[in-house]
Amino acid sequence: MRDRIEIYDVLLVVTLIGAAWRALFGKDAFSATVFFIVYGLLMAMAWVQLDAIDVALAEACVGAGLTGALLIGAVRQFERAPGARALRRTMGLRASIGALSLLALAGLTASLFEIENRRSPVPPLVERSLGDSGSAHPVTAMLLNFRAFDTWLEIGVLLIASLAAISIHRLYDPSPIEGRASTAPTRPRLQIQSQTQPWIMARTLLPLLILVGGAMLWFGSHAPGGAFQSGALIGAAGILLQIAGGRSALRLSSLRTRSLLSLGFSSFWLMAAGALLAGGRILEYPPASAGAAILALEAAATLSIALTLNVMYACSRPWGPEP
């Protein structure tokens, strides 16, 4: 990291604050969302300035790209829904949100001073144990080995989020639940021919996106990259297919969807249980096969993350996914 502050850094921070301001106080929901995406991309550039390439990639893929797509879907649904304007925030709610935000700001500011005042013992520790971790990239070693427990719980949060999205979608979906897709495929409300131009174009682009996503996953073992970035790319490929009309590909009730959604979490679970049964500590891989274990966990997590993003996007669309 450089010690000097350059004009570029100052410009970046000023633009970041400006984008955040417009995202919060934009003239309508759509422009606020656009500024939220701009904010995410600028944030990614700020992470690059701080030499945190992994975080920058994740921020650009997930923070700006996919969250932006989800938010735009929500905005469109909000604009079309009759009576949605009635969901005005009350004064009390505003006050409590403001108070909570101030509390979070105070906590973050306090942690800033703590970082300043003590040298973290972690980087040299990671440097010393990198050889045993099964990964040549310190960030991957941290996420998938030293603190794999945290990543496991993160994948769990994603699983819970996707289940919540499905549940909320079911709650508001007018179509009856008993018509489970596995037995009786419901007729899509919007019929799109499966051989139209966009469908063919999207299908052509799909292998390329999956290839880039796979490369991103593979790079994670020795360079910035990994499950979250790769999952976001493959998830984006799936969302492209959804927009192009491949809606029938995603059936929320099917065993395939459910098992793929939980694949990441259950792989971590199996790995943890295996390590415990073998007499080790939880998620402690044998150093000889640590590289393979990390790659397997990352691959499983990638698939689950990609599908989770697709499920969320499908649930945010006005007519939703197949039941």
């Binding site: 422009s31 131009q197 966009p198 174009m201 052509t204 996106l209 192009a244 009309g245």
Partner: protein, 99 residues
């Protein structure tokens, strides 16, 4: 070398201008098709000019080739997604009119 630098800088600045114009268009235009028009201009010309400017500064052949590949990937993705979204919107407009 300074001539190359000048060409590179003007390409970067011009590319930045197209990004600015595209973003303003995205915010100001009212319907999906016009917004797509603004965005695809940005992807083609803006990113193209910035890539060209950066390739001139890349220093080594592999670095320049990588930038070129990134631009081509973005171009392909932009063309496909733009078409897909436009088609999707047209279908919806048609459906809304028929209801």
């Amino acid at each position: 070398m300074s001539g190359m630098d000048a060409v590179s800088s003007s390409a970067l600045i011009l590319g930045g201008f197209f990004f600015l114009a595209g973003t303003v268009g995205l915010l100001r235009f009212r319907d999906v098709h016009s917004r797509l028009h603004a965005l695809s201009k940005t992807d083609n010309l803006g990113l193209g000019l910035i890539s060209a400017g950066l390739i001139l500064r890349a220093g080594s052949f592999p670095a320049g080739a990588k930038i070129l590949i990134i631009w081509l990937l973005a171009l392909l993705a932009s063309a496909v997604t733009c078409y897909v979204i436009a088609e999707w919107e047209t279908n919806h407009e048609r459906q809304d009119r028929n209801l």
